[in-house]
Symmetry: C2
Subunit: 179 residues, 2 copies
């Protein structure tokens, strides 16, 4: 079955702080016309920091969309033209104060391919040195330390819900234990 | 550190086919005012179907946001008032023609908590019976069979990028091999 869609026209609907929304007219594989609403995103990075003792440093952050605090790994949007690895180290430092001597790329993830073109570049950080968290004035994040083995259980029993966090806990566990 | 934010007001920006966007004024934990752009979503289900021989039935689908075909597990939006498990079986049947005698809930995932309140309810389906795919007129999906062991490698080496698909491959592998 032919799957490809072709763009016919694109209309900007909203250019916000976080969300840049377009409504595009498209041609479907069967020749019918259709509409795609799509959010264009600059991309992001996430990093799972793991200590020598096998603890993961997580962040607790209020997520307005869910009206609650979630447990996630450090992450953030790419700045314009920023190198992915540098962005990962910057977000790690800002949100947790940590710096890392060893950082391994762990692939990419698409958060919501039906709606957003966001790609998150994933990293595993070890050989960590502690430092001071340095958040923006209007950014509020607590750090929390949980053993990787316990974090794996929390993914399996459904306690950890953020998608990048679930992926990186399972990938890091597999990567470190297969080494 | 206090993390909670409070809604002051909400304005509907766009009520589309797939995207329902709001711009809310909020009170930050430090007393400053802020803005949150948030997409309200009805929720979704995904299901990883695994055959007796240990093969995963994936779907190939064109994702307009990325202008390419992606490899994903069957998934779709909840219909109004629909039971999650029924939705998972409906999407499985529509996209692959499969029915399943054994379906296990595998937790929830938040796709993009910074922007969307979407929750995906995840299921593992086994004891499968083949049938006819029945797509909407303007829906285009091919199925593809890959051994679970190979799919795990494809997550680890970065070939599979969709977030729900990465999570469910790793969770299903861990669940089935720890049994």
């Amino acid at each position: 079955m032919k799957l490809e869609e072709t763009k016919l026209s694109s209309t900007e609907i909203f250019d916000g702080v976080a969300i840049h929304l377009f409504k595009d007219e498209i041609l479907l594989p069967n020749g019918n016309k259709g509409v795609r609403e799509v959010i264009r995103h600059p991309g992001a990075v996430c990093v799972i920091p793991i200590t020598e003792d096998g603890d993961v440093i997580f962040v607790n952050q209020f997520r307005y969309a869910f009206n609650k605090v979630t447990l996630e790994i450090p992450a953030g949007k790419l700045e314009k033209g920023e190198d992915h690895l540098e962005a990962a180290l910057r977000e790690l430092s800002e949100e947790t104060g940590l710096s890392a001597k060893n950082v391994v790329p762990m692939g990419e993830l698409y958060t919501t391919p039906a709606l957003i073109d966001e790609v998150i570049y994933m990293y595993l950080a070890t050989d960590l040195t502690e430092g001071e968290q340095h958040l923006d004035e209007d950014e509020f994040i607590n750090t929390i330390k949980i053993p990787l083995t316990k974090a794996v259980e929390m993914v399996m029993n459904g306690e950890i819900r953020d998608s990048k966090t679930q992926i990186m806990i399972l990938k890091a566990d597999k990567y470190l234990n297969n080494k």
